[in-house]
């Protein structure tokens, strides 16, 4: 009475589905074309594209983690604060300059090897994630509220640890993560850009080919069903927040490399850029939807707009308005598409 499903499948993708998958990519191409026409000399060059990729690395890496959280139906507003805390911790672990209280002279403290400092800083991420995850699952409150609290608490911790000032460490190879591998071969990119690309592939594979990845989608799509199917929601959510915060830790390392110092006031407001990148990439804030490729494209669109506006010589405020409009446009288009599908 029912032919086998393969036979009744008319086509693998409908046009709407295809558009939905390609939507962010079309947006990226459009933005790229637009600025290439408006600034044909300075915008479409290898060195500029390399620069855009470099400028994307911090937000893009953190957005990978945020993608996991948003697919699972959560949100994390404390990313910017976590990144600042990580830069401070790395700075403090490295040999850094302090003022000697007795003599008033600047001295260099003892510190660990750069690799250990980086590791220590990165691990601050999952530590914060463990706290957030535990609070979200134990108190059963909205992640928005919990992470709004963490937003303040982590920023405060960073300021306290750094005694409310910058931490100036000695120059190490950690500062070179966002510099081209060879100045004469720009296409070799920077270590930070490579890190983002490799991590993106790992996360995409994790979401697609592992049980944990499928559980993330299931929780975001319908938590009740997921509970009914015997999945330990609390443990999975804790895992999601910790893993995501590992990416925040790595983003913090890149930010440190960019600043070459620990700054407790850095990345203020970056959480919104990160969330925007995920949303422009097609993720739904109500969960169950999102992709790594989309997120990366979203992050690229954001930095391309920033870069393009600079090339055009537009002031900062124009750039902010443009970015805001793109976010609203992306979400509106997404909603329209959803409505047509259903």
């Amino acid at each position: 009475m029912n032919p086998s499903p393969e036979l009744t499948t008319p086509s693998r993708f409908s046009v709407g589905e295809l558009l939905g998958k390609l939507g962010p990519l079309i947006g990226l191409v459009f933005v790229m074309a637009l600025f290439s026409i408006m600034a044909p000399v300075s915008f479409p060059t290898l060195s500029n594209f390399e620069l855009i990729l470099r400028q994307t690395a911090v937000v893009g890496t953190a957005a990978l983690g945020m993608t996991l959280i948003i697919i699972a139906g959560g949100i994390d507003l404390s990313v910017g604060s976590a990144i600042a805390l990580v830069t401070v911790c790395i700075g403090l672990l490295l040999p850094h300059k302090i003022q000697d209280l007795a003599t008033g002279k600047e001295i260099i403290t003892a510190g660990t090897l750069p690799v250990l400092a980086a590791l220590g800083g990165i691990l601050v991420g999952p530590l914060c994630g463990a706290i957030t995850g535990t609070l979200v699952t134990r108190l059963n409150l909205l992640p928005f509220v919990i992470t709004l609290g963490m937003f303040g608490a982590l920023r405060g911790t960073a300021k306290g640890l750094a005694s409310n000032t910058m931490v100036y460490p000695v120059d190490t190879w950690l500062n070179g993560l966002l510099r081209p591998i060879r100045e004469d071969c720009l296409w070799l990119l920077t270590p930070g850009a490579w890190m983002m690309i490799v991590l993106a592939i790992v996360v995409a594979a994790m979401l697609r080919y592992t049980r944990f990845g499928r559980h993330i989608f299931a929780i975001g799509s319908n938590e009740q069903t997921t509970r009914l199917c015997g999945i330990n929601i609390e443990r999975t959510k804790l895992g999601i927040y910790m893993l995501a915060s590992l990416f925040f830790g790595l983003a913090g390392l890149l930010q440190f490399s960019y600043l070459t110092m620990g700054d407790p006031t850095t990345a203020l407001g970056m959480e919104l850029d990160i969330i925007a990148a995920v949303v422009i990439g097609g993720a739904s804030l109500s969960g169950g939807q999102g992709s790594v490729l989309g997120t990366l494209i979203g992050a690229l669109i954001m930095s391309m707009v920033a870069n393009g506006c600079t090339r055009m010589g537009w002031p900062n405020w124009v750039q902010e308005i443009v970015t805001g409009c793109i976010i609203i446009l992306a979400v509106t288009l997404d909603r329209l598409r959803q409505r047509r599908l259903s």
Partner: protein
């Protein structure tokens, strides 16, 4: 067809409904309903779940327009376009789920939408006076008018809602299952109030499953079955069994396959099980190769029993054993022990409707590493086996018909290869073809030595599919009996609390 119609008496009725028809798409919800009630009278509206009581009341309250039929209020044609229209005309509805603004005060709730004002300013004195009048009419001046409604008990909140209808001068008051969440003591208070309103000349329509309550409170009754009014009469003149016969009296024309089954070892045993509210006490044993049905009314605690067994609600008392495992367990453990559940709420809980068929079907037992195409191959097996109509395993569940969605929910248990299947209303709201397929699957599973515990509100289905049945009434489960030793009337009598429950 039973025809205990009340002799129609022209005039004198507060509310008359005649020949009401209503269809939703292909589903016929109401197919000719007549109902009438006088002022100073309590009319009970009875019928099984899905008989059309709620739809009829939605027509009365203006939430759904009728496709055919006419209504009169005090002999004037009555055609509400929306609920506000109905309320202005004097038809007050008290639903099971109360509709109060929990943060507002009692008096604000009573006059919500009709607040007396001086220009833009609230006339607090008038609000207080009118709210106090309404409460006095209900004989409940003890309920404070100033506190937020959320600080009141459920019974008191119900009073506020009734007061709201009284305050706007309602002529017809409809109470839909008003006692389902009340304690015995509150029910007595409510009945006193209903009698009081009746003596003040209100016409009251009282909807209930509980025939004992119907007997206690109503003057007349009307029975709905399959969207038609099939009978009625003066409550005091008609024995309860006769009312039950009117509610149940339909022919069993579906085919229930039943192959010879041999009960094996005990797979599930519960003894005196109780949960946070319901169940209060439930005992049963379920063997391999057996289908055990749980009958009862909506809200009796049948769903809660399955959820307690499965670890979705807390166990408060009693013993529970699944195979070799004793004691309560989480859903995660239950799946590992070979127990699976199909939720009664397919859209909210049973399925993640925005995910694909494959995602839903395999969610409970994903391997640690997987490939999407490998998972699809696994789910195609079940799509073929259950004849799920779809474009393919990647189609999202939301696009499927109700019957096919339910088959996905059942297929999840088959894919997991569980031994004990807990099925909560497995055929609710689905087409006959899908129903027959689900019955077929249940029979095959029992023959292969699986054990099925099934909750259903549709008695012919329970009688046709199950080997044994038990009846749940107000959280207490009766002993199980072979289907050959019990009939639908007995079940209905026990479910409505009017039988001699042991």
């Amino acid at each position: 067809m039973v025809s205990d119609r009340v002799p129609t008496q022209q005039g004198g009725y507060r509310l008359r409904m005649e020949g009401i028809h209503k269809r939703f798409g292909a589903t016929i919800a109401l197919a000719g309903v007549d109902l009438s009630v006088r002022g100073g009278e309590v009319l009970a509206l009875v019928g099984e779940n899905g008989a059309g009581k709620s739809t009829l009341m939605k027509v009365l309250s203006g939430a759904h327009p009728a496709d055919e039929g006419r209504m009169w209020l005090d002999d004037k044609p009555y055609q509400p376009r929306n609920p506000l229209d109905a309320r202005r005309a004097g038809v007050g509805m008290i639903y099971q789920e109360l509709s109060l603004a929990l943060h507002l005060s009692v008096m604000e709730n009573i006059l919500l939408g009709m607040e007396p004002t001086h220009g833009p300013w609230m006339d607090w004195a008038a609000i207080r006076r009118r709210a106090a009048d309404a409460m006095a009419q209900l004989d409940r001046p003890d309920i404070p008018l100033d506190i937020p409604v959320m600080r009141l008990s459920v019974a008191e909140q119900q009073m506020v809602e009734i007061a709201r209808s009284v305050a706007v001068g309602c002529r017809v008051l409809v109470l839909d299952e008003p006692t389902s969440s009340l304690t015995r003591k509150d029910i007595v208070h409510l009945f006193n109030l209903v009698r009081r309103l009746r003596s003040q000349g209100h016409a009251i329509v009282y909807i209930s499953h509980f025939l004992e309550e119907v007997r206690e409170i109503s003057d007349r009754f009307t029975v709905l079955r399959d969207g038609q009014s099939v009978g009625g009469g003066i409550t005091a003149d008609v024995p309860t069994e006769r009312i039950i016969a009117m509610m149940v009296g339909r022919t069993v024309d579906e085919l229930y396959p039943r192959s010879p089954r041999t009960p094996g070892e005990v797979l599930l045993e519960i003894d005196g099980l109780s949960g946070p509210g319901k169940p209060r006490s439930a005992s049963l044993t379920l063997r391999r190769g057996e289908v055990l049905g749980i009958a009862g009314l909506v809200g009796a605690g049948r769903t809660e029993l399955l959820r307690t067994i499965f670890g979705l609600s807390q166990v408060r008392g009693g013993k529970i054993r699944v195979g070799a495992f004793t004691g309560p367990a989480t859903p995660h453990r239950r799946w590992q022990q070979g127990v699976g559940i199909v939720s009664e709420d397919r859209k909210q809980e049973g399925l993640a409707v925005s995910l694909t068929i494959t995602d839903n079907l395999t969610l409970s037992c994903l391997p640690r590493w997987l490939t999407p195409s490998g998972q699809d191959r696994r789910s195609v097996r079940w799509i073929d086996r259950l004849a799920i109509k779809c474009r393919g395993p990647r189609q999202t569940v939301v696009d499927l018909s109700g019957g096919n969605q339910q088959k996905v929910a059942v297929a999840r248990l088959l894919h997991h290869d569980v031994d004990v299947l807990l099925l909560d209303e497995p055929t609710r709201g689905i087409d006959v073809g899908s129903k027959a397929q689900i019955y077929q699957v249940i029979d095959e599973l029992a023959c292969r030595g699986k054990a099925v515990l099934m909750v259903s509100s549709y008695l012919p289905e329970l009688m046709g599919v199950c080997d044994r049945v038990a009846v749940m009434c107000r959280g207490v489960l009766s002993p199980t009996r072979l289907v050959s030793q019990i009939d639908e009337r007995q079940i209905m009598a026990e479910a409505t609390g009017s039988g001699d429950t042991p």
